[in-house]
Structure formats: structure tokens, C-alpha cells
């Protein structure tokens, strides 16, 4: 079978592909943003001293890291409406199901990144803020969080890229993201290479763009040439 350049180009610029890629990207962005919002308090709890909250949070992490994403997607889409009536209503579409499932799952991974980033901020930083009379909230907002965020950027972008690819699993619940669109076209025409290559190019462009953004953000966050304080002489 010949490679049909015509088919490839028209797939690449088709509305279906573009829309599929947009769904992929928006599901990733919204899902990851939700995961970050959920995982930040969870990381604080896990690093904190409240035992009950800590047990609950580590239970969450344990469960959602163990469950395969595919199972979680199918569970949220097919089984959840059986237990909870509001999910039977028409507004509950595959996009919302995928968003819910992937956020729950991603939060369990993101929490570890947040946790180690928060831990890497020296205790003296918080102590200095407290000693200045700042409130705990301000110490977190202006001192601990910005320093932890810098550490978390690279692993967070890695997670984002992983999630971008994982969204393709949502084809099992008939979400019209990029891979679903690709498979529909392939099933219709049997022109594998043309449609696969077009999809590949979309993924490559999305991932490379992200990596470029990561570089820029990291540069913006690198505040001092020599990095950390105490460059000359540490604690004895």
C-alpha cells in the first residue's frame, strides 16, 4: 500500500483532528489543574502533624495510585451512575467523566511532587518569616510556596506530558479526543500510516510546545546565579 500524501495532509488539517487535539489538550489542562488544586492541601496534610487527616490522605494516594486509569475511567463512566443518581442525568458526558477520573488519579501522583518540593524548602525559611511576625498564611504564600514551586516545575511538566498521553485512554468511554478520532478514520479507510502519522505530529507539537514553555518558566524562576543562600560558609 502506498503512502497517500493527500490523505495525510487532509487528515492533518481536518476539523475532526483539530477538534480532537483541542479536547485532548483541554482535558489535560483542566484535569491537571484540578489535580494540582486538590493535591496541594493534601501535600500540606501529609507533611503536617494531624494524624487522622494524614491517614486519610495517604489512603487516598494509596488507592488512586493502585487503580489503573482505564479501570477508573470505565468505573466513573459506567458504574458511578448506578450508585449516584445525579450522574444519570444528560449533562454527565464523557468529557466530565474523563475529567473526574483523570483528576482523581493525577492528584495522587501530583501530591508526591508537591510534598517533596515543599520539604526541600529549608526550615529556616519558615522560621525567618515567622520571626518577622508574618502570619502562617503569608509565610506559605510569599516564602515557602514560591520556592517549592520552582522545584516542582520540571516534575510537574513531566506529569502533564504523561497525562496528555493518558487522555487517549478516554477513547474507551467514547470521548472524541485525538486518538478516538484517529481510530475512527482508520477503521473507515484502513489507511493506517496516514492517519497515525497525522496524530503523531499533533502529539509531538503539543509536547514540544510544553517543553519550550517549561524552559521559559524555569528561567523566569531562577532567581540567583549561585542558587541558594549561604553560598559562602554553611552552618557549623
Amino acid at each position: 500500500m502506498e503512502f497517500d500524501t493527500q490523505v495525510f495532509w487532509s487528515a492533518l488539517f481536518s476539523a475532526a483532528y483539530l477538534k480532537g487535539a483541542l479536547i485532548t489538550l483541554s482535558l489535560t489542562v483542566i484535569g491537571h489543574a484540578t489535580a494540582i488544586v486538590v493535591s496541594l492541601p493534601m501535600a500540606l496534610v501529609l507533611n503536617g502533624s494531624n494524624r487522622i487527616a494524614r491517614t486519610l490522605a495517604s489512603g487516598y494516594v494509596l488507592v488512586f495510585r493502585a487503580v489503573p486509569q482505564l479501570l477508573l475511567l470505565l468505573f466513573v463512566w459506567n458504574a458511578l451512575p448506578q450508585f449516584i443518581p445525579i450522574f444519570r442525568e444528560p449533562w454527565f458526558n464523557p468529557f466530565l467523566a474523563a475529567w473526574l477520573a483523570l483528576s482523581l488519579n493525577e492528584a495522587a501522583y501530583q501530591v508526591e511532587i508537591n510534598r517533596s518540593a515543599l520539604r526541600s524548602v529549608d526550615h529556616g525559611q519558615g522560621a525567618a518569616g515567622i520571626a518577622l511576625g508574618l502570619t502562617y498564611t503569608d509565610v506559605f504564600r510569599f516564602i515557602v510556596f514560591p520556592q517549592a514551586a520552582r522545584i516542582a516545575i520540571a516534575p510537574t511538566v513531566n506529569e502533564f506530558i504523561t497525562l496528555l498521553k493518558i487522555t487517549s485512554l478516554a477513547s474507551v468511554i467514547s470521548l472524541q479526543e485525538l486518538m478516538t478520532v484517529t481510530q475512527i478514520e482508520v477503521a473507515r479507510t484502513f489507511q493506517f500510516s496516514e492517519y497515525y502519522l497525522a496524530a503523531l505530529i499533533y502529539y509531538l507539537v503539543m509536547v514540544f510546545t510544553l517543553m519550550a514553555i517549561q524552559k521559559r518558566v524555569e528561567r523566569r524562576f531562577s532567581w540567583a546565579r549561585s542558587g541558594m543562600p549561604g553560598a559562602t560558609g554553611g552552618a557549623r
Binding site: 520571626a131 518577622l132 503569608d138 541558594m228 549561604g230 552552618a235
Partner: protein, 247 residues
């Protein structure tokens, strides 16, 4: 001296688990007084300093600042800390903020002053510690001595009523100790109330009203500096001074 003490530590005990880090510590510091605290490593000097501004909570006894008892109901620890500056051994500057930003953060957030006011005040104190020309640099770009002077300026920007120093020169290369001590001496001469944990005996002689010697969590003796160096009252103090001389 007469009147009430600015800082009063009364029968304070502090435990870390089973370990007693402070035992029956009593210390009164009056407005304008300069106290030097010394003693062997692990004797509880840092613990005492950290208890005074509530970075650590003591287990028994009372600590009062300007008549307000720490941890008493209705007394805000955060508000007290705004009147007590602290300088750490490791500087603890905020590495993601410029020197000037380090100095304006707390005044802006806690004293309701404008950005312009905070900057002007910060420039004043940075000038006073002779580092105004580095105001836009980041801490990582400065030497240890410069960083510690910024840390002092940052604390002064809160216009505190007392300053606590926890071995401010012991993380510094020897050639940078002088510049930090000069700034501290200048501050002492301006009338600031100071508690300094330090083993810089020249500084103690020049500046201290009293030297407090600690060992194993207790204050072993309190004397005038000349008296302390010439005639230490306890054997342990004598042994400690001996070691210090032979460093």
C-alpha cells in the same frame, strides 16, 4: 535599673521529648540593655532565644515581653514577634527575593505601610548596614558577611523594640566577621535592646552590659563582662573560657 523588664524569662523549662534543654532559666532584660549569652555547644542558647520570640514553646515557667505573657489568652504571639527582631546563624534570607524585597515584605504585610514607604525605610536601613549598593541583587549573589548584614537590616525594617542574635558570625569566613560585628556594635550604641548569643569575646567586652554563661540548659552565672573574663565564678565557665582562648 528600675521599672519593669522589657523581656522577662521566669523559671522556664523546655523539654524535647525526654530531654531537658532548658531548666529553671531566669533572665530579665531591661530597655536598652545588651546581653551576651555564651556557653558550650548544646547548652541551650538557641533554645532560649527561640523560646523568647515563641519559635519554640516552653513547657513551664513564663516569658513576658513588655508585660505581655506569651501564650496567655488574648496575647497574640504574631504581634509580639513584630516587635522582636531575630538574626539567625545561617542568615535565612529569602533566596527568591531581592535584597530590597527581603526587607519590605514583612513591613508591608504587617504594618499596613505603602510600598513606597517600605522601600524608603528599607533603603535607610540598608544604608545603615553599608549595603545599599546591593539592594537589587539576590541573596545568592552576596558574600556571607553581606547576607548577614542584609538579615540585620531586614529585621530592623520592622522597627523592633529588641533584637535577638543567634550566633550571627559563626557561619562566616573569618575575614567577614568584623563587618557584621561593626554593624551590631553600631546598633548597640544606638540604644537597641539586644540579646546576642555569640562567642566573640571582644564584642562582649565592648558592648555587653552583662554576660550570661549557660551550661546544660541552665544559666550558671551572670556577670559584668570584665568580671566574667577575669574571674569566672564557676569552674565550667573557667574551663569554657580556657577552651575559647585556645581555639
Amino acid at each position: 535599673m528600675s521599672g519593669a523588664a522589657l523581656i522577662r524569662v521566669d523559671s522556664v523549662r523546655k523539654n524535647y521529648g525526654e530531654f531537658t534543654a532548658l531548666e529553671n532559666v531566669n533572665l530579665s532584660v531591661f530597655q536598652g540593655e545588651k546581653i551576651v549569652v555564651c556557653g558550650p555547644s548544646g547548652s541551650g542558647k538557641s533554645t532560649l532565644i527561640r523560646c523568647i520570640n515563641g519559635l519554640e514553646r516552653h513547657d513551664a515557667g513564663t516569658i513576658t515581653f513588655d508585660g505581655e505573657e506569651l501564650y496567655a489568652s488574648g496575647v497574640s504571639l504574631t504581634r509580639i514577634r513584630r516587635h522582636v527582631g531575630m538574626v539567625f546563624q545561617n542568615f535565612n534570607l529569602f533566596p527568591h527575593l531581592s535584597v530590597l524585597e527581603n526587607c519590605i515584605l514583612a513591613p508591608k504585610r504587617t504594618q499596613g505601610i505603602s510600598d513606597a514607604q517600605a522601600r524608603e525605610r528599607a533603603r535607610g536601613y540598608l544604608d545603615r548596614v553599608h549595603i545599599l549598593d546591593q539592594a537589587d541583587k539576590y541573596p545568592g549573589e552576596l558574600s556571607g558577611g553581606q547576607q548577614q548584614r542584609v538579615a540585620i537590616a531586614r529585621a530592623l525594617c520592622m522597627e523592633p523594640r529588641a533584637m535577638l542574635f543567634d550566633e550571627p558570625t559563626s557561619a562566616l569566613d573569618p575575614e567577614m566577621i568584623g563587618e557584621v560585628l561593626d554593624v551590631m556594635t553600631d546598633l548597640a550604641e544606638s540604644g537597641m535592646t539586644m540579646i546576642c548569643v555569640t562567642h566573640e569575646m571582644g564584642f562582649a567586652r565592648r558592648v555587653a552590659d552583662r554576660v550570661v554563661f549557660m551550661d546544660r540548659g541552665s544559666i550558671m552565672e551572670t556577670s559584668q563582662p570584665d568580671e566574667f573574663f577575669a574571674n569566672p565564678q564557676t569552674e565550667r565557665a573557667a574551663a569554657f573560657l580556657q577552651k575559647l582562648l585556645h581555639l
